[in-house]
């Protein structure tokens, strides 16, 4: 088939939202490379990825331009397109009170799959997704990764010719992510399917045969992943400082350097992208560090491309000084256990988080990570064990302990119909701030998070990035000793993630202890120390390098964090 499965010509789509016109797509033209394979659709939040998917599936009508799906006009022949295209939205409509099998049958009915073909198709999908043993289980009882697999299976019940996947791996752990990719690859190989997949994980984009990069509704670039990183050859280095504990200071210095485009932490080192090819020694001048040239990754290309395209630059970072530095460890956990109706979700966990460190809590879906997190911030009582947060026993002085922590969840959890200012005032007062102090902290929040212009806007109507800033500002108003972050960057694009982590570094430098859960393995590298959990127990604990070293073996002496994570979990399951 030499015809492109998806062609867009001058596509334009605007939305009316709260009296404003939002341009989602602004004259977008491209053609998917014919011949099957996975095409990655990437770009910052608000680039128009979901809008493009919905237009391709014939669910929206463009304001201008045309979109052709497998030779059909997606707008005028939407029914025919929908019969030939599989579309899996971000939040797939699984019926949680139906079993896996019933969900499959429902979608088979909806898509009009002839009964004679069903048996074979179900068997194949069950085998492919590994859902075979769970067909009788309620969909609501599946883990996050399994739900996504079931969603994919329902989308594929009637074999489509083009598969549209909108961020299928958001909130899914690395093991399940790898399995989802294996399914997608098999589909491409065995059924010759064309796949368009949007993602916020850049390592996933690297696995695609072709990548489409959007920004603010326009095409920035299209090509194989290698083409994105190729121009950066000779411009990427790993910088190691003399003192590993000062790596954040080194990162901040490098990031501020005019010749440096991007600087992120990687283990004890800082990975940088320079504006032009320079000799490493020139860069290191004035900084006591060793410089090692490394080959560019796709992520480097992505960031360089968007920064060239004029994405907003670095921001002023908020400085927070933890008021009451608690002596000793910020969090002490001893024999922490949680049982639900005979099922042990967390089993005798013991660890400590030192004051002022960034501590990562990692684990596969269902490993007990969220349960542990909720116990630590006082949302769930422990069944057994000792738990001290900010020097206070959570069992006896919960309200006092809560006064010393800040909390930010992956879901936007502020009041959507209150204005930015009203939200901040409310949280300031619930944390006991009064009068002049409230005004002072609000002024700080407006300045540090650049929210002043939006002070009277409704919080729910803010763009994703600003909502996240607001949530963080609200969590920091009372200058907490410890900040709890529950998958704070889930579904957030790489540029916004960099901005976010910049703030986290600044907080840690100010003495705030940060406990963070994440599914992004490169973010695990940003932590000072981390634990990996599996089946309610500790699998590994230590600095990122120590954890990676634990997973090292002959073939790969220096695994990436993702490889280490998967290997540690596999090793445990094999044992």
């Amino acid at each position: 088939m030499s015809v492109s499965p998806l062609i867009a010509e001058g596509l334009r789509k605007t939305f009316q939202s709260a009296g404003r016109t939002v341009t989602a797509l602004d004259g977008l033209s491209f053609a998917m490379v014919p011949g099957g394979g996975v095409t990655g659709l990437i770009g910052p939040d608000g680039a128009g990825k979901t809008t493009l998917m919905r237009l391709a599936a014939g669910l929206l009508v463009p304001d201008a331009g045309r979109i052709h799906c497998i030779g059909l006009d997606a707008t005028r022949e939407s029914l025919a397109v929908q019969a030939a295209v599989g579309y899996m939205p971000q939040r797939f409509g699984l019926y949680e009170d139906l079993t896996v099998q019933e969900n499959l049958e429902l979608y088979a009915d909806l898509q009009g799959l002839p009964p004679a073909e069903r048996g074979a198709r179900y068997a194949r999908l069950a085998e492919m997704t590994g859902l075979g043993p769970f067909v009788g289980r309620l969909a609501g009882r599946l883990s996050g990764g399994m739900k996504q697999k079931l969603g994919l299976a329902c989308t594929l019940v009637r074999p489509p010719r083009l598969l549209l996947l909108d961020e299928p791996t958001v909130g899914v752990d690395p093991v399940s992510r790898r399995e989802l990719w294996a399914i997608v690859y098999r589909l491409v190989d065995e059924e010759g399917l064309a796949v368009l997949l949007s993602t916020a994980y850049l390592d996933e984009a690297e696995r695609c045969s072709d990548v489409i990069l959007l920004d603010r509704g326009r095409l920035v670039d299209q090509g194989p992943p290698g083409a994105f990183s190729a121009p950066l050859r000779g411009r990427t280095f790993l910088v190691r400082g003399a003192d590993a504990s000062a790596r954040r200071a080194l990162q901040a210095r490098l990031a501020a350097h005019p010749g440096v485009l991007d600087a992120v932490l990687q283990g004890e080192a800082v990975r940088i992208v320079t504006t032009e090819a320079v000799a490493p020694d020139r860069l290191a001048s004035g900084i006591e560090a060793t410089c090692e040239a490394v080959s560019p990754r796709f992520e480097d290309g992505f960031v360089a491309r968007l920064k060239d395209a004029g994405a907003p630059g670095e921001l002023e970072l908020p400085r927070v000084d933890a008021l009451r530095r608690t002596p000793g460890d910020a969090i002490e956990v001893e024999g922490l256990t949680k049982r639900f109706d005979g099922f042990t979700a967390v089993d005798a966990l013991t660890f400590a988080v030192h004051a002022g460190e960034i501590f990562g809590l990692l684990g596969a879906n269902g490993a007990g990570k969220t349960t542990t997190f909720r116990m630590l911030c006082g949302l769930l009582p422990a069944s057994a064990g000792r738990l001290r947060v900010a020097g206070v026993d959570l069992r006896h002085a919960a309200a006092e302990a809560r006064g010393r922590i800040g909390y930010m969840s992956q879901r936007f959890s502020l009041y959507g119909n209150l204005s930015v200012r009203q939200n901040l005032e409310f949280f300031a007062r619930t944390y006991g701030l009064r009068g002049a102090r409230v005004r002072e902290r609000l002024a700080w929040a407006f300045a540090a998070f650049e929210l002043a212009e939006l002070a009277d806007a409704e919080a729910g109507a803010l763009p994703l990035g600003y909502r996240q800033r607001l949530a963080m500002a609200a969590a920091l108003l009372h200058e907490p000793d410890i900040l709890f972050l529950d998958e704070p960057t889930s579904g957030v694009d790489p540029l916004a993630r960099r901005e976010f982590w910049g703030r986290i570094y600044a907080l840690a430098e100010g003495g705030v202890t940060v406990l963070v859960t994440t599914h992004f393995m490169e973010e695990a590298e940003y932590c000072d120390r981390l634990v990996i959990m599996a089946a309610g127990a500790l699998l590994a604990i230590g600095t990122p390098s120590e954890v990676k070293a634990q997973a090292a073996r002959d073939g790969t002496p220096a695994p990436t964090m993702e490889e280490a994570f998967i290997r540690l979990i596999e090793r445990r399951e094999a044992a």
């Binding site: 911030c377 909390y407 959890s413």
Partner: protein, 369 residues
Amino acid sequence: MGARILALIVKEFLALFRDKRSRFVIVVPPLIQLLVFGYAATYDLDEAPFAVYDRDGGHAARDLLARFEGSPAFELERRIGSAGEIAGVIDAREVLLVVQVDQRFTADLAAGRQAKVQFLIDGRNSNTAQTVLDYASQIVAGFNRDWAAAHGLQGPPVSLVTRAWYNPNLESRWFFVTGLVGILTLVVTMMVTAMSVAREREQGTFDQLLVTPLRPAEILIGKAVPGLLIGLFEVSVVVLLAVVWFQVPLVGSLTVLYTGVVLFLFAAVGVGLMISSLAVTLQQALLGAFLFMVPAVILSGFATPIANMPEPVQWLTLIDPLRYYLVIVRGVFLEGAGFGLLIHQMWPLAGIALVTLVTAAWLFRHRMA
């Protein structure tokens, strides 16, 4: 502690009134219900269609029938010439009542004998049938009295003279509008409180609230106060409309009325918060609220007298706060009853309020912990 609760109360009001839909829910449906019930719900018979089969035609029969035609309660739909037509007009719902006058009616009366009139009533709606019968009987009784007086006969040995106290014209609107004061208070208070926690759970803001230093009891108070204040406001609007618009007399004292209102609001807020702490989603909260409100209204004696209910059901009404509240509202409005008369309604109400609020607080602690 006070400042934190105040912050929560302010937040609750902002959240309610910045949202166009919740503003609408609080203001518009109660007003519509008040108008609908105030105008549409009535037991008063007004121009009920009836037919006449006058087999006599004499002057006494004409006199009797003229009384029916002259009554504002009835409207003559048609005259019937044969017995065969009677079934047809009732079946077709053309008339509610057929008055059949015996062919010797005038003659019998003139001779001093008993004369016969027959009422044929459409009994498909038993309530209406009963009302029609009452009105028709009154007309016949009036006819009897006047005939006896005019012909110098001895009247019936006992002459019944009725005077309806507190509602001399037996206007059912007085009865319904005062009852509405109770029902609308219940509906609005339940909506505001039952939804408040469930909405936060559903939108994911509840966790954020729970990690603040606010204690469960403080959250409970912060959620209860807006319900109380909005309930008070709603009651005041409905009472004002009842007096000014519907001209229902408010005989008693406002102090007594508002004492009852506050006790009732505490009970309603307690029930609302109980539902709220059990419900995980808004939908569950809504269903829970209705599951409570519908039986509460039926068992309250709002429309049908409690005395008519089977005894076990009557016992059940004892735990219905609306039951006591309606007695208080109607007592104050129509009778001018004071604390002395209503104390036996107020203490059970206070008891229910105490139990529901304590249970809500307990559920709150346990569901959150």
